[in-house]
């Protein structure tokens, strides 16, 4: 299994995946720098502490960014196999299909955790750049980086399954985009609402990280296992 993961890492070399990992956090930093650069006074005069202001502004962009990022990462991971007819070679290895699918899933989780770490660093950078004063809420940076990313796991695993069983990546990506844009609007129970539910601030009603982060992790792992079971029985057309 570990060698399988190492092989997966090799395959990622020279792809766009590493660049994509940085794109989201950098986008967040730039957006917040512009936002606070233009109207810092106005934002900070609100009746809350500085951290609530920062995470409140970030939460307009962050959930959507994480959802779309998970969709794209899942698709890029699957596309490596769809192109170059790599499925044939991968599946010819003396390994169970369950493990092969599992290694894709673990890899996706790993990539998302890297995103979470980059987000933590982004929040820290923003805190000092905007000069929001002391004490520095390091524990909040950690929560704000990791909670929404952990809550996106169900969507990520769903997208991984879709991207692997459908060859034409237009379809899974499009489903991901439409669901990310519209899936979380009306109800908090659908997985596309979990990232916003898990953002650690009080001013958003209906959000409660202590509940939604475990739900996200649990459902994500369940979907990974279900996807792997489905994949083990499926005919994959090499092409």
């Amino acid at each position: 299994m570990i060698r399988l993961l190492a092989a997966e890492r090799l395959k990622m070399k020279g792809t766009w995946i590493p660049i994509l990992l940085f794109l989201g956090p950098i986008g967040l930093i730039l957006a917040m720098m512009v936002d606070f650069g233009l109207r810092k006074e106005y934002l900070l005069q609100q009746n809350t502490d500085n951290w609530t202001v920062l995470i409140g502004e970030a939460s307009m962009l962050l959930p959507l960014m994480i959802l779309l990022g998970a969709t794209l990462l899942a698709s890029l991971l699957a596309e490596m196999e769809h192109q170059a007819s790599a499925w044939k070679h991968t599946l010819a290895l003396p390994l169970s299909r369950f493990k092969i699918y599992g290694s894709k899933g673990i890899q996706l989780i790993g990539l998302l955790i890297i995103v979470a770490i980059l987000l933590v660093l982004s929040f820290a950078f923003l805190w000092f750049w905007i000069d929001l004063g002391k004490p520095v809420p390091w524990d909040q940076f950690l929560k704000a980086g990791f909670y929404p990313v952990l809550a996106v796991l169900p969507v990520a695993m769903l997208q991984l399954w879709l991207s692997i069983i459908i060859r034409n990546q237009a379809l899974p990506i499009f489903i991901g985009v439409v669901c990310s844009l519209f899936g979380g609007i009306h109800t908090k129970w659908l997985p596309w609402a979990y990232p916003i539910n898990a953002i650690p601030i009080d001013s958003l009603e209906k959000n409660n990280p202590a509940f939604w982060v475990p739900v996200g992790i649990g459902l994500g792992l369940l979907l990974l296992i279900l996807g792997a079971l489905d994949f083990s029985r499926r005919e994959v057309k090499g092409g």
Binding site: G27, A31, L61, L72, N168, A170, I173, F182, G239
Partner: protein
């Protein structure tokens, strides 16, 4: 002309038509429903106009620019997966005509999307029975402006779709650049020059002419010229080694 029509029908045959239809139907419905079910009664303004503005925001911020990219990619997909560029380009027709046939389809699909969006909104207002009336002129003007404003982006996406075999990479670029458009649109100096913000700015309902003050006609024209001519030159000159 007949050659051109044959080329267009040739492109049409290669398309996954069911997929195009699904894409065209889904977005407008999803962007219209939340805007109409939302409670706008707290405002003094015309409720239907408020609902329309919300729907425009839902539809034109990310969905419409990305849909344009999906169409561009689908139009080039057949050639990319089946090594079809070689087959296509050995035909006794000029590459420019092939390029034009693909452009024509992209124009057709983006225009159809606008028609579907407006229709979905009108059907929705009737279904939910929203009282206020709204002038047809405003909505039609908004839809046409939005279509014109997406054209630079459409030409750019077609260019990118020729370049990359991968489906994910053009999408990643497209989505990453579409997300900040909500911020770009807030800035009067920067917004009109940002291709991903142009459709949204152009579609916000207003009283002026098509493509009025919020977005500049010459910016759109220059955008179309740069991306269109660039994509065209690249397409006719490139060695097709795919």
């Amino acid at each position: 002309m007949t050659v051109f029509l044959r080329l267009v029908s040739n492109e049409w045959i290669k398309l996954q038509k069911w997929l195009v239809l699904v894409l065209l139907v889904v977005g407008p419905i999803f962007s219209v429903i939340p805007s109409l079910t939302m409670d706008h009664s707290s405002t003094e303004a015309n409720q239907l106009l408020m609902a329309y503005s919300t729907a425009v925001l839902q539809y034109a911020w990310i969905f419409f620019p990305i849909l344009t990219g999906v169409f561009a990619a689908l139009i080039c997909r057949y050639e990319h997966i089946n090594g079809g560029w070689k087959q296509l380009l050995v035909q006794p027709v000029s590459r420019s005509q092939i390029y034009l046939a693909k452009v024509f389809l992209l124009l057709l699909f983006t225009a159809t999307s606008q028609i579907f969006f407006v229709s979905a909104f009108l059907v929705g207002t009737w279904w939910y029975g929203i009282g206020d009336s709204i002038s047809w002129e405003i909505i039609i003007r908004s839809a046409i402006s939005g279509w014109l404003a997406v054209l630079p982006l459409a030409a750019l996406q077609l260019w990118i779709s020729f370049l990359w075999r991968s489906f994910g990479v053009p999408f990643a670029i497209n989505i990453a650049l579409a997300l900040p458009s909500i911020l770009a649109a807030q800035s009067e100096t920067f917004g009109p020059y940002y291709p991903w913000a142009q459709p949204m700015l152009a579609m916000v309902p207003s009283e002026g002419d098509i493509l009025d003050a919020s977005i500049k006609v010459w910016v759109i024209l220059v955008g179309i010229l740069i991306a269109g001519i660039g994509g065209w030159l690249h397409f006719i000159r490139r060695d097709m080694e795919w």
